[in-house]
Symmetry: C2
Subunit: 247 residues, 2 copies
């Protein structure tokens, strides 16, 4: 372990062509592609630890991962070297040396996700893989009101993909903000952690509110009921972006 360093990477990727973050036997994943690139550079067997999984077609603006290496490449220059070995839809934005006991997943104490909804009569050829396209006009005021009910510490069991198993389904949502950029609506979710598919189910439920199929105040009862079937659809993967991981 002499001269070993722990390198932290900040990573952005367009998830369209990948079967998600985590290495799996049946398709190419972001973790696999980056791991292979680092191994090519260093000649080492690399264990790349991500902050968490992202699903197939989900994007990242600031995924965090770390790995151990004895390479002499300066830590702050590592990202440039890795980028030369990566396809254009994955970019390492920065790299630095971190404490030897830093672990991207265990040390994460919060995350921020972005969800993009494209509201337009006709789809755009430029963002079919980058946003959830809705053709009807959504009631964004009702959606913002509804989002307020998610804020705080709650048991989010109703907003977890059924079949998942975790120790606790209690999570704290710190902030949900809405921003409009022309026809594109961006919703930002900041919290101490998210259950499997939780952001997409929250968005899908807000979408039901925006379509006037659920009143804003119904969110409160759906949370309390802890029944996945009472929440809305799972909004499509291509609208979701892992924006930032907090440590």
């Amino acid at each position: 372990m002499k001269n070993m360093k722990n390198i932290q990477l900040i990573i952005s990727y367009q998830g369209t062509e990948y079967c998600g973050w985590q290495i799996q036997p049946n398709g190419i994943t972001v973790q696999e592609v980056i791991t292979t690139a680092i191994s090519e550079l260093t000649g080492e067997i690399v264990n790349l630890i991500g902050s968490g999984r992202t699903d197939a077609r989900v994007h990242a603006l600031g995924q965090c991962a770390n790995f151990f290496t004895a390479s002499s490449i300066p830590p702050e220059q590592f990202f440039r070297a890795i980028n030369t070995k990566l396809p254009v839809d994955i970019r390492i934005l920065s790299s630095k040396e971190c404490d030897m006991d830093f672990h991207s997943r265990y040390n994460a104490n919060g995350k921020c996700y972005l969800y993009k909804i494209y509201e337009s009569n006709v789809g755009s050829p430029f963002n079919s893989d980058l946003a959830f396209h809705v053709t009807q006009s959504l009631d964004w005021d009702a959606m913002e009101e509804a989002a307020g009910y998610f804020i705080g510490e709650h048991d989010f069991k109703a907003f977890m993909a059924s079949g998942s198993s975790v120790k606790t389904t209690v999570r704290t949502i710190e902030r949900i903000s809405f921003e409009k950029k022309n026809d594109l609506y961006e919703m930002t979710f900041k919290g101490n952690g998210f259950l499997y598919n939780m952001v997409r189910i929250m968005v899908g439920t807000l979408y039901e509110v925006g379509s006037h199929r659920l009143p804003p105040r119904s969110i409160s009862g759906i949370i309390q009921g802890m029944d996945r079937s009472k929440a809305g659809i799972t909004a499509p993967a291509q609208g979701l972006y892992l924006k930032e991981v907090f440590y």
Copy 2:
């Protein structure tokens, strides 16, 4: 010709996967895909007339095309019907009936193009096909100054791909404007017509100015010299967007 209608379409496409607009034997083109879609709908042999070609990987926000049909589909609804037969990277934005003598190419009296340059230390996974990525900082003030020399009526022979043949290489540039959106610079070119590769060579020359390899005032001499080799590079196709066609 009884009951024949002339239908005008406004079309947006991401050019990444296409060998340009115009039908050709060696690859799939936007014109071919739309022509096939219309033929499937109407059962007719369709001659789709575009305002002009776009090259491989070049995009359109508002390409214009027209075709004749005896179909009973209401002209204003045609775009929706065609969209159901198209891949997501091509969208018809609108359709309407126009005069029987309207011709998308011959009647065009001006065009507007957009060119996007992404200035960033590291590339973005989201726009490698949608902008020209430059890693160095460009001198945008010098580029704006240089762009001023293009305004007006000039012989733009130096800004035409060599080997092209046209009756006249005189064109009028009405306006060139610059807009910055975070790390993305958008340059808009409006003129009465553009020679083959003219926008990309103008951008490539402005890029030389922005990199301080040419002074802004050199543009004037390059125009007068009418020598393609004195102008700058042909900027990459993926940054170019046909924004609007004027009639």
